[in-house]
Structures are given as C-alpha cells and as structure tokens.
Amino acid sequence: MLELISLSKKFGSFTAVEDLSLKVEAGEIYGFLGPNGAGKTTTIKMIATLLRPTSGRVMINGIDAHQSPQEAKKCLSYVPDQPFLYEKLSGQEFLSFVAHIYGMGRDEAIESIKEASEIFEVLPWLKKRIEDYSQGMRQRLILSAAFMHNPKLIVIDEPMVGLDPRGAETFKTRIRLAAEKGTAVFLTTHQLSLAKDICTRIGIIRASKLVFEGSMKEFCGDGVERLEKRYIELTA
C-alpha cells in the first residue's frame, strides 16, 4: 500500500532523510520510530506530499505520490502532529467539509460523520465551534476526520497528543480494527509502549538513515523494559 523507494531529502548540505526504502502492506501497522530530528517528520511530510523528495519515490496504492498527488491522496489520510482546524467552524461543519472534499454524497457524509464521531466520542461536541474544544477533543475530531472516508492508508504523526487514557484506548482499538479491514497504517511515536501494543512492524531511523526494520519481537523479544533499553542503545 505504501512503498518508499530510495527516498532522500536534502536541505542544502544537510541531509534530512537518506536513501530510505520501506514497504507497508495493506492491514499492517507500521511504527516509524526515532529520536528527535532523525527525519521522521520529513519522511511523513514527503508521504503526505507536503515536501518533494530530492530523490526517490513515494508510492501510495501503486500511484507515484509526487507524479499524481491528487490521485494518491484519495487513498490517504494524514494526521499531522499539530493539525490545522478551522476554529470558527463547528466540528460537524469541519467533518462535513472533509467528507465532501473526499467526494462523499450528502447521505454518505452524514452516515460517516455519525459513525466516526461516535467511535471517537465527539458526537456531543459536534455542534460546538472548534475554538471551544480542548486539545484532546481536537485530536479526537481530527482522528474522526481521518477515519471517516475509510482510507487505504493512514499516516499519523504522534497520534496520542492530548488524548486521555480512554481516548488513547479508543484510538488503539480503532487502528486495529482499520488494519483488520485492510487499511495500512504508518505512524510515528515517541511512546514505545504504544508501538509495542499496536505495531505489527517497526522501522527505526537515526540521523536520517533507517537503522532497523522488523517486527517488535525481532527488535526486543518481550517486555517494554528491554524495548526501551534496545531503543536507547540503537539511537544513542
């Protein structure tokens, strides 16, 4: 579903991502881990077509994301770490806007909004303006928008920002469910426990290069403690 082929991004003489190749199959939850400044966000921004790679390609559902961005984005949902929301719109109006942008008809949009907002428990807030939302509520809304049109690929940068334990649990359940239905998930996080809980495979990037790729078991066996130790060793 997602394939990065020898992806590189340079800013002047500084290399943010170097020769990165990886594949995320349908139904897989891929955790993209790494220390601050390693190149995670640059990679994600290239996948979301917000940055063009210096070399290499991003393939989404077999479509080159930088050759046919509009086609590629039809299959994609992107949740940035600091999402943009129209403060003056209500949650419902925002979701409705996104639904229509993804080409949903009126009835389909209403149904999807209802379903997604019920799952993420924002339904009681939908009539309120976004400017009145708490940080967690905003995150729930943006996650509802991301899941609403049943994307084939979800790319999430730091999904747990502002979520309370209940919201976090809902997110994990929903992500697993989406993966079971065949959606590929590519997420970055600094919470190793989250990666351990939900990721079927992880990649670790350090100083712009992928230094590990494999399953959680291959990385650390069992136990969060060992996971943390191994991660710190690898990214030091």
Binding site: G12, S13, L50, K73, Y86, Y102
Partner: protein, 569 residues
C-alpha cells in the same frame, strides 16, 4: 470541490465577521467610524481636487484624465506588489494551505481559493478608497452612472489585473528559483517594478504633457490621444482612465471600447494565471516549502557545522549575553530586546521589507538634497513644504504600520512564557515601544533635516522641521501601538498578514488622519514665515498642540499595549 472550498471560506468569512462585531462591539463601531470618516475625506478631496484642476487651474479634461491615469498606474503597481507579498504569506506559507494540500484537491483549486483569500484580505481599505474616490469623481461631474459602470468595468478589472500580475510573478519566481537563487529572482522583480514605474513616470512627465496639451488651448478638453506615449497602451490603468474620460465626455463607444480592453485584459490575465497555476503551482508550493524547511533546519545545522561550532562554543556565545557587565539596563530588558531583534533578523519577510523601505527613504533623501525649488508664490512654497512634510510623515507611518503594529501580536502563542514568568509586563511593552520610537525618531529627524533642503532660501526652517520629524517619530509608532494592542491577535504568526489585517488598516487610517492634522499645523506655522521670505521668525504658537497629541498617543499606547499583554489567554 472548488464549490465546497469557496462555500466553506464564505461561511468562515461570515462567522469571523459576525464574531468580530458581536465580541468587540466597541472596536467594530470605532472601525466603522474611522472607515467612514476616511471614505468621506477621500470623497471630498477627490471632488475638490477635480474641481480645482478643471475649473481653477484650467488644465482641461484631457490633462486631468492623464493625471488620473498616472495616479491609477501608481495604484496599480502598489496593488500588484502588495499582492505578491500577501499572496506569498497566504498561498504558500500558511497552515490552511498546508492542510488543503494533504487533501485530494486539485492544486489549482487550492490556488484559486487562496488567491481569492489574499485578494479579499488585503483589499478592504483599497475598495473603500476606490469607492470613495470614484464617488467623489462622479459627484463633481453629477454623473452617478459613471461611478457604477466605472467601478464595475474599469476599476475592479484593473485591480484584478494588478493582483493577477502579482500572483503570476510570484508563481514564476518560485518556480524558477530552483535555477536562479530566490534572492536573484526577487532582485530582478524589484528592479523590474522600480524600473517600470520610473520609466512610466518619465514617459508621462506631467510637465511635458502640460506643455504639449497647452499648445492646443483652448481645445484642451478634446481627446488628444496622439500625445500619449505608445507604451501607455500596455497599462490597464491607462484604459481605465480613458474609460472615465470617454464616459464623462459622453463618448459611449470610446468608453465601451476602453472598458472592453480593461475587462479583456483582466480576464486574459486571470485565465493566464489559472493556466500557470495549473501547471506550476504544485511545483512552486513544493519549492516554497523546501526553501522554508531548508532555512529551518538545513541552514542552521550546516552553517554551525561549517563553522565548526562545538556545543561549548555555542554555549559560550550565548552565555556572554547573561554576563553581568552586559546587563546595564536590567537582565529582562536585554533578553527581551535581544529576542525581538533575533526574531526580526531571522524572518526574511521582515528584513526584506525593512531593507526595501530604507532604500526608498534613502532615494527620497537623495532626491530632496538634489532638488531645487524656486517658487515665487508663498502659498505654493508652503504647500510644497507641507507636501514634503506629509510625505516624510507617511514614510514613518508606513514603517510603523509594517513593523511596529505586529509587535504585540507577534508574541504569538508564546505569550504564555512571559505571562507565567516573573517579568514586569510594562518592561515587555517598553522593550517594544521604546526601540521603535528611538529608531523612527532618528528617521524622522533625518527626514526633518532634509525637508527644507529643496527650498534653498529657507534654511532657517531646519530646526523646526527637525522638531516636526521628531514628533512624527514619537507619535506614529505610539498610535500604531495603540491599535496593535486593541486588535491584538495572538493566533496569527505571519507579520505580513498581521500588518495587512483589519486592525492595521484602521491604524493606518487613523495615522493618516493625524498626519493630516500635523501637516495642517505645519502649513499654518510656516505660511507667514514663507510670506516674509524667511525674514519673520516662525510662528510656533501651535506647537503645544503637537506636544499634546504626542503625549496623549504615548499614554494611550501604554494603556492599550499593557491591556493586550494582560488579556485572558
């Protein structure tokens, strides 16, 4: 999809406007009053000037409309440049644009929605000015249909053409900034604009045109198009002025043909812009983002690597600021000043505009010293001096609106840091106002020193002129700071958007109002001096008014500035 985008944008405009009125009723009433006064003044000035030129100075309809064409050309160039700046902030460097690019929307549709956004965002004052000016024109000729048709078929398409040219240039600059550096591209565009405006004014020298037209006296109301320089035909502003000439002289075929040319040009440029956006916008967006990121991460890392700075060295650079010997004005003040200075220097849009304005001031100063005015009539000499004084003030106002107005809002979302720190907010406020006053006072006194230079026989005016300049340098940043406080917006991070916002427009209008009051004082005080050919001492009886205005402005700036810093977050 475009329909959905525009529908959402229109709803946002309605909701934001409604909120602005309901949450800030007093502010909105004040804005409406300011806009109305300014619109009325524009109406009255245009009506008076039209009457003066046609009836009193007897320049005739043709020459009047050529002066109108000149004014419209300057207006055209300003809109075009302003649109380049606002479009860059809105179409390329904007959170919403980034969000829209993550959705499956055609890039050209994003471009169109954001183009309209930037066009409407920066046009509120412009539209009011134009409406009032055209009404003033129509009021003089008692021909209201000219106002309606002129606005729809001449002025509006001309404004649209200017905005389209701005956006086309911006698109091309960004697209080709991969081949030539962005600095070179910006320099080329600046040179093109400056050169174009200079040659247009050179070609359309009003004095030469006056001499040429007067050869046909008394038939000076006739259309003397043969006297027009041929390059004028390429300027939509020329055809817009022609529309007004033909409509006023009831030559409806000529008016229709002129309107057709203006509208056709606007449609053509709009289509060209959309075509180019369809082809280049996605690329230009990526390039703009690349440059942005390059500056954010690549440059800082590579430059410190290139310099071979170690962490210890960087630490030692930074800690030098906190050494006791540097802290002569108090630790907080130095840190605040240093932070504001660094933020200013590291924002290219700030430094670039600042450099452009300083260059313009430099050119103006050079011209003042090179100019020689020998006018026998004291009324005209006083008017010339007042005009120079008014222009000096306007330069200070422009600097203040562009750089002082956004200062409070630019605290942005990091205001929590100041609010939760043991720092005196008065100190924060003064760390913004005082440096602005010091700098603008310096500019004001320099301009004040240069203002009497063209009037060779009246050098005794220099001390008073310097005092006026100094007064402007203190008053205008204070006025602008008042409105920066009243309309503070901690959510907008972009200085260009802040300084072209609704509040900034109001602050500009109020500053211009004060500028007119100060210019009238200057006129009254210097008239008898010029009448006596510099033999009588200057009448300084009105100087107390200048001092009072200045004091009130500084005090109000303190009140509103502090209120903005203490506002609930």
């Amino acid at each position: 999809m475009l329909r959905e985008l525009i529908k959402t944008k229109a709803r946002l405009l309605y909701l934001e406007g409604g909120d602005r009125v309901s949450h800030h009723m007093l502010r909105s009433i004040f804005s409406v009053i300011t806009f109305s006064i300014f619109a009325y003044c524009t109406y009255a000035v245009v009506k008076f000037a039209t009457g003066y030129i046609i009836k009193d100075a007897r320049l005739g309809l043709f020459l009047y409309h050529r002066l109108l064409a000149l004014g419209l050309f300057v207006f055209f160039a300003i809109i075009s440049v302003a649109n380049i700046l606002v479009a860059f902030a809105t179409v390329f460097r904007n959170k919403e644009t980034e969000f829209l690019h993550t959705l499956p929307i055609k890039p050209v549709q994003i471009f169109m929605s954001k183009f309209l956004d930037s066009f409407l965002y920066s046009s509120a004052l412009m539209l009011i000015l134009v409406l009032a000016a055209v009404t003033g024109y129509a009021g003089y000729f008692h021909n209201w249909s000219v106002a309606v048709f002129g606005l729809v078929f001449a002025v509006f398409p001309m404004i649209l053409s200017a905005a389209c040219i701005g956006s086309i240039i911006l698109l091309l600059v960004l697209k080709f900034s991969n081949r030539i550096s962005i600095k070179t591209a910006v320099l080329i565009v600046t040179a093109l604009y400056a050169g174009g405006t200079y040659f247009y004014i050179l070609l359309n020298n009003p004095f030469r045109l006056f001499t040429d037209v007067m050869k046909y006296y008394p038939h000076i109301d006739r259309y003397l198009g043969a006297l027009d320089p041929k390059p004028d035909y390429f300027a939509p502003s020329f055809w817009a002025a022609n529309f007004f000439y033909f409509a006023t002289t009831r030559n409806f075929v000529g008016a229709a043909a002129s309107a057709l040319i203006v509208c056709g040009t606007a449609v053509g440029l709009f289509v060209l812009m959309i075509r180019l956006a369809d082809k280049y916008y996605q690329d230009a967006f990526w390039i703009a983002r690349h440059k942005l990121f390059e500056r954010k991460m690549g440059k800082s890392v590579s430059s410190s690597e290139a310099r071979g700075d170690s962490i210890h060295q960087i630490d030692s650079h930074q800690s030098s600021w906190t050494q006791p010997e540097f802290v002569t004005f108090g630790r907080n003040s130095i840190s605040l000043l240093r932070r504001d200075l660094l933020l200013f220097l590291r924002e290219p849009s700030q430094t670039f505009h600042f450099a452009v304005l300083l260059i313009l001031i430099g050119i103006f100063l050079f011209n003042l010293f090179a100019m020689k005015i020998y006018l026998p009539d004291p009324f005209i000499v006083t008017s010339a001096f007042t005009l120079i004084f008014a222009f000096n003030s306007f330069l200070i106002v422009s600097l203040a609106v562009r750089f002082v107005y956004p200062m409070l809002s630019l605290e942005g979302e990091s205001i929590w840091l100041l609010r939760s720190s043991p720092v005196d907010l008065k100190r924060v406020f003064y760390s913004k106002l005082l440096p602005s006053i010091i700098f603008l006072s310096f500019i004001g006194t320099t301009l004040g020193y240069a203002a009497p230079a063209p009037l060779r026989n009246f050098r005794g005016l220099i001390p008073v002129s310097i005092v006026y300049g100094l007064a402007g340098g203190i008053t205008f940043p204070s006025v602008v700071m008042i409105f920066g406080g009243v309309f503070v917006d901690y959510k907008e991070r972009n200085p260009v958007r802040i300084s072209s916002s609704h509040g900034a427009t109001v602050s500009l209008l109020v500053s211009v109002g004060i500028m007119i009051v100060l210019s009238s004082i200057a006129f009254n005080q210097t008239f008898s001096y010029f009448s006596s050919r510099g033999n009588l001492p200057l009448d300084l009886s009105g100087i107390w008014m200048l001092g009072s205005v200045l004091l009130v402005c500084v005090m109000l700036a303190r009140v509103f500035g502090l209120r903005a810093l203490q506002t609930d977050l």
